[in-house]
Symmetry: C2
Subunit: 273 residues, 2 copies
DNA sequence: CGCGAGCTTGATGCCGATCAATGCATGTGG
DNA sequence: CCACATGCATTGATCGGCATCAAGCTCGCG
C-alpha cells in the first residue's frame, strides 16, 4: 500500500495521507462546554479544496456562503456499498469529496454495464432528475465521502444565481459530451484503443487533481474495466500484458506505471504502425 | 411513397400530408394594409401541437406566452445540410419541429459515430453548453424545420419560471439516461439485439407522435444505422434479412412493417430460445 | 436508358469471447 | 506460523460472431 511520495507530494494513493490539496480541512470550532475541538466533517464549499473542480466553479465569496447553507450534509459510503440504486427515489445530487465510485445500468436479463467511474469533485445522480427515480446504481469502489446536494435547493438557488445555474448546466452538458465519447469508443474502437483511451482519460483526471500522471492505482477490477469498455476481463488482462510487453506500461496487479505516455496516446488517435 | 393512410390518419410518412397532430397550424393574422392572410411560419409554442412533447411541457397559458417571445425564429434545414457542426460557436438550442436529424461525433482519425437520431419535439444542441462550442455535427436526414431557442434567453426565463427550469433539467437528464442505454447496447448486446432494440425504440417514439407502431419508413441509411449500433452496414442488412426470414418484419428497402412486435421485444430483453 | 447511391448476399478471416487451468495476494482460523 | 479459502489476475486453447472483401441487385433520377 505504501507509495513513494516525496515531500512535495506527487501522490498516487489518496489514502496514503493528506496531501496539500486533499486534506480534509479540519476546522477548529468553538464548542462552549468543551473548549476547542477538531471537527473533521465541517461541510463548507467555501473552504473546500475541490471548489475549483466541483459545482462552485467561478462563484463569488457571497455565493459560496449561500452554497454552504445548501450543501449541509455529507455522507460516508464504505467500499462496496451503494450510494443509490436503480429505482430509488431521487432527491439529491452528490458531489464526490473523497473516494471513487462506479455507475452501472443493467438490462432486464441481468447483463450490466458500467457507465462511468467518478472521482473527487464529480457529480453523481444526474440520471435521477428526469424521472424522479435513479436509473443506475452508484457503488463506492473504496471508502468514500460525498456532499449531499438537495436537488430542490439547487433548483431554488440556481434561479437566484445565474453563475450557479450556468455551472450546473455546464456539468450536465459535459456529461452528455462524455457519454458521446464513450459511444464512439464502444462503437468504433478495438480493444487496445479502448484500454489506451481509458488509461489516458484516467491519468488526465488524476493529474487535474494533483496526482501523478505516470503512476496510478486502479480502484476497479479487470471485470469492471471490461464492462465499461465493452470487453471481457480476460481481454482487458491480455491487453494490459501486451502494453507491458510493448514497453508502454509496467503492470503489477492494480499498480500501473506509464512508461510511454506518447505511445499510449498514439494508440487512442489513429496513428498506428 | 404513397402510404395507406385512413381518414383518422395513422400515418407512416409525415410528408404524406398534415395529419391532425402534425399540421403546421397556420394562423390567421391581421395585417392592417392587406387584411387577413395566411402566415404559415408564425412561431408560437402556445399554438404548437408539439408542446406536450417539447420544452413547454406542463406550462401555463401565461408561461407559454412568455415562451413565445423567447422562441422567436425558425430555421429550415434541407436534407443533407448541417444544423451545426463540431467547433461551431454555441448560442442556441434547437427544437425539431418537423423532419429528422442525426448527431455524429468523430475521432481524430476520421472514424465517426452516430450518437442519436432526433425527431419532432426533441431538443438538439445540448452538447454545446459545456464548452460554448458544439462537439458534434447535426445533420438533417430529410427536409426539416427547427425552432431556435437562444440559450441566454432560456437561462433567463428559466430563472423566472421554475416549471421551465425543471422541464429543461428533465430533458438534459433524460438525454444522459438515454446515452447510458446506448452504452449498454453497445457494450453488451449482440447484433440482433441491437437492431431489435433500435426498432422498438424508434416505433415507440413514432407512436408517441401519432404514427403507426407497426409500419415505418427509415430516414437513415444502413450505414447510419450501423454507425449508431456499432455494426457494419452489411451486418445491419443481414440482420434485417434474418428478421424477415424469421417472420418478425417485412423489409422493403427503407419501408419496414412489423409483423411480430412481441417477438421483436423478446429479442431486446433476454428471452431468447 | 443508363448511371450511381444504397442495399443484399456470399466467401473468408480475424478479433475478441469463451472455456479452462494456474498463479498471486489477502485474510482467517486452527 | 501454516493450511486453506477466497477473490482477482494471468495465460493458453479453441470457437464464433461480425468485419472484410467482393460481386450483383434495386430503385430513383437526370
Amino acid at each position: 500500500m505504501s507509495q513513494k511520495r516525496g515531500r512535495e507530494g506527487i501522490r498516487v494513493d489518496p489514502h496514503a495521507g493528506g496531501g496539500p490539496m486533499m486534506s480534509d480541512n479540519p476546522v477548529k470550532m468553538e464548542v462552549p462546554s468543551q473548549g476547542i475541538r477538531l471537527e473533521p466533517f465541517k461541510v463548507a464549499c467555501s473552504n473546500c479544496n475541490l471548489r475549483e473542480l466541483c459545482l462552485p466553479v467561478g462563484m463569488s465569496r457571497d455565493q459560496l456562503e449561500r452554497l454552504d447553507t445548501m450543501v449541509a450534509t455529507r455522507r460516508t459510503v464504505a467500499r462496496g456499498d451503494t450510494l443509490f440504486r436503480v429505482g430509488d427515489a431521487f432527491s439529491s445530487l452528490y458531489a464526490v469529496r473523497t473516494g471513487f465510485f462506479k455507475s452501472c445500468v443493467s438490462s432486464e436479463d441481468g447483463r450490466d454495464q458500467v457507465t462511468g467511474f467518478q472521482m473527487a469533485g464529480e457529480l453523481l445522480g444526474l440520471d435521477g432528475i428526469g424521472s424522479e427515480r435513479h436509473t443506475c446504481d452508484s457503488i463506492a469502489l473504496e471508502d468514500s465521502q460525498v456532499c449531499v446536494i438537495p436537488y430542490q435547493d439547487l433548483e431554488t438557488l440556481s434561479r437566484e444565481f445565474s453563475d450557479l445555474q450556468r455551472q450546473f448546466h455546464r456539468i450536465m452538458s459535459r456529461e452528455i459530451v462524455r457519454d458521446h465519447g464513450v459511444m464512439l469508443l464502444l462503437g468504433s474502437m478495438r480493444a487496445e484503443e479502448r484500454l489506451a483511451a481509458f488509461l489516458v482519460n484516467l491519468t488526465q483526471r488524476l493529474k487535474t487533481r494533483g496526482f501523478s500522471e505516470s503512476a496510478l492505482i486502479l480502484r476497479m477490477t479487470r471485470e469492471e474495466i471490461g464492462s465499461y469498455l465493452g470487453l471481457k476481463l480476460e481481454t482487458v488482462s491480455r491487453t494490459f500484458s501486451k502494453f507491458q510487453d510493448d514497453g508502454l506500461l509496467e503492470v503489477k496487479q492494480r499498480h500501473i506505471r506509464i512508461l510511454d505516455a506518447a505511445g499510449l496516446q498514439s494508440l487512442v488517435n489513429g496513428t498506428p504502425c
